[in-house]
């Protein structure tokens, strides 16, 4: 009887998979990279700094990494990578360029989809644009081990949508109260959605070693108390004048100052993330849990 049940379940899974209307090749090769959103409640917390350095660290660890700048209006991840891509997300969503053409190589390994400019808000896009975005993210994820979504700062429909379509969320905050309250507001906002990704906290720009943990404890306690959700702490990065005063076009810190403590912190965060969510390598996602399906479901549930 148990065998029959398992066979029936397998049959249903197969049927459901075929009903997803993906091309046959996609069904057979449904391996997908881990999609991690990096967000912050407040601008200037060091989110893009963390994304670029984490991406390089992962690349150096042998992972195929892609950074997608999801700040479609004011993307600047390409500046931190020191590249100036000709094509961006704007061209992708406009149907002007396919995914392979907007994937820009960077000097430090990861590929980048630049945010571009001109799309002030995802809310202004039509459903077909979202479907295109979902398919594009699916395509990108299928070709990488890790996809880091550099979400727009603040609480907006744009940042929330891109955050919710990820499998995991790395929330970047600072010890200061303004950053904490904004981070908490973002958590509170996301917690009202039906499927909240797991939230992992990075405290950036700590003034002294160890300051990240009490900052996390305070935010986690308030979140548990008022929202009923738990957070995971994955590390801190110290304030560094080399970061604060670096010029545009300079390589990421982990490249320019590989021996500094902040670079070590980035490595620790990478390991902490892998400890929390498992190896950052392409895997077969649970049925219906691919990034394309997640974003499509967000659209369907509207």
């Amino acid at each position: 009887m148990q065998d029959e049940l398992e066979i029936g379940s397998l049959g249903r899974r197969l049927v459901q998979r075929f009903l997803q209307r993906r091309p046959a090749a996609s069904v057979l090769e449904a391996v997908e990279g881990r999609v991690v959103a990096v967000a912050s409640g407040k601008g200037g917390t060091g989110k893009s700094f963390l994304v670029t350095n984490l991406a390089v660290a992962l690349h150096r660890a042998g992972r195929r990494v892609c950074v997608v700048d999801c700040d479609f209006g004011l993307g600047n991840a390409h500046l931190l990578f020191g590249v100036n891509p000709r094509l961006s997300m704007q061209h992708l969503l406009g149907g002007i360029a396919p995914v392979p053409e907007v994937l820009s190589p960077t000097p430090h390994g990861p590929t980048l989809v630049a945010g571009g400019s001109g799309i002030s808000s995802l809310a202004e896009l039509e459903v077909r644009h979202f479907e295109l975005l979902a398919r594009s993210l699916g395509t990108i994820a299928a070709a990488h081990d890790v996809v880091l979504l550099d979400c727009a700062a603040g609480i907006s429909t744009q940042s929330l949508l891109t955050t919710l379509c990820a499998e995991h969320l790395v929330l970047v905050t600072n010890p200061e109260i303004a950053a904490l309250t904004d981070a908490y507001a973002l958590i509170k906002c996301l917690a009202r959605q039906p499927r909240l990704p797991d939230i992992h906290l990075v405290v950036n720009r700590v003034l002294e070693p160890g300051q990240g943990r009490p900052t996390f404890d305070r935010l986690a306690e308030v979140t548990r108390r008022f929202v009923g959700r738990s957070l995971h702490y994955i590390g801190e990065v110290a304030e560094n004048s080399a970061v604060s005063h670096r010029r545009l076009g300079q390589p990421p810190l982990i490249v320019s100052h590989p021996e500094c403590s902040e670079a070590a912190s980035i490595q620790a965060i990478m390991h902490g993330l892998e400890l929390a969510i498992g190896p950052l390598v392409a895997t077969v996602p649970p049925l219906g849990q691919g990034v394309e399906r997640r974003l499509m479901r967000l659209l369907e549930e509207r």
């Binding site: 060091g46 949508l161 970061v243 010029r247 659209l299």
Partner: protein, 310 residues
């Protein structure tokens, strides 16, 4: 209840019927002249000359069971018309006759004798069309039943549309037929050479006919209008669909309802955002939350944003 007997229509009575209601025979028929004597004496007596929708002449013979000379009248009139067809438009300018090469002969009668019918059949006149009329009563009121014995008049449903009306009009009428045909396979379309009538389960939907060089349409319950192009056809389609929905008992949306529904769809398209926006507005921190976050914190001024941040 005692009711009066059904009186068979006399020859004069039949002609009056045709004169008053020519559409019973065919859409677009118009009386041009009465009591014509074609071919001399009474041999070529024709009760009426009519013009059909394409402008062709139609000679109408009313007859009854005592009219033994009908075949002779028909032959004499036809012979006259064939001889003088080219001159008739000028001789009868009020008729606005066109397409004079063809002239149809329509016999309208009640219970035509079998020998007369046999004689007419032997003549093998392609132009000849015969309609029999019988009256009957419903609740005391007299009604008429017309049946086509020979020919393609209105009572003979399914006659092809006459190509003499011209390609544009032909196209419009065919579009009407195609339009109603797409709605429901149960819709029945019949008509004569110049008209098509659509109905479903006995309920009329609309009618389309050619008359006065134009295609007219009438959706049941509405005033007739002229169809001249695609825009008119689209409007007609909308009216037909509404009538169809009403006929099958489905609710018919008004423009306002449709607009509201469309706006609703647009709102649905943004629905995910609306949900997110609702979350955003609910994300405002309460005083308790602010206090809990600020415990033990020397808030001070926020640090300046680093260039690398964001």
């Amino acid at each position: 209840m005692i009711r009066g007997p059904i009186v068979p229509l006399s020859r004069e009575g039949l002609w009056r019927l045709v004169q008053q209601r020519p559409e019973l025979l065919e859409r677009g028929l118009r009386v041009v002249a009465e009591s014509l004597e074609l071919g001399g004496a009474r041999a070529g007596l024709v009760d009426g000359l009519m013009r059909d929708a394409s402008g062709a002449a139609v000679l109408v013979f009313a007859t009854d069971e005592r009219d033994a000379g009908l075949p002779a009248r028909v032959l004499a009139a036809l012979a006259f018309w064939r001889r003088n067809a080219a001159a008739m438009p000028r001789a009868l300018p009020e008729g606005d006759l066109r397409n004079i090469g063809s002239c149809r002969l329509v016999i309208v009668g009640t219970a035509l004798p079998a020998d007369v019918l046999a004689t007419l059949e032997r003549l093998q006149l392609q132009e000849l069309e015969i309609v029999e009329v019988e009256s009957f009563k419903v609740g005391g009121s007299e009604r008429l039943a017309l049946r086509s014995v020979r020919g393609r008049l209105a009572v003979a449903s399914g006659a092809p549309i006459d190509e003499a009306i011209g390609a544009p009009a032909l196209e419009l009428m065919r579009a009407f037929v195609a339009l109603v045909g797409k709605l429901d396979p149960r819709i029945r379309v019949d008509g004569d050479r110049f008209s098509r009538r659509a109905s479903i389960d006995g309920q009329p939907l609309g009618e389309c006919w050619f008359a006065e060089d134009r295609v007219h349409v009438a959706v049941d319950g509405e005033s007739p209008s002229v169809v001249q192009g695609d825009a008119d056809l689209r409007r007609l389609g909308d009216r037909i669909v509404r009538r169809y929905l009403a006929a099958i008992g489905q609710p018919v949306a008004t423009v306002r309802q449709v607009t509201a529904a469309r706006d609703g769809d647009a709102a649905d398209a943004r629905g995910g955002f609306d949900s997110l926006r609702a979350s955003m507005s609910a994300a405002r921190l309460t005083p308790d939350e602010c206090m809990a976050l600020g415990e033990g914190e020397d808030a001070g001024d926020p640090e300046p944003e680093a260039m690398a941040g964001g």
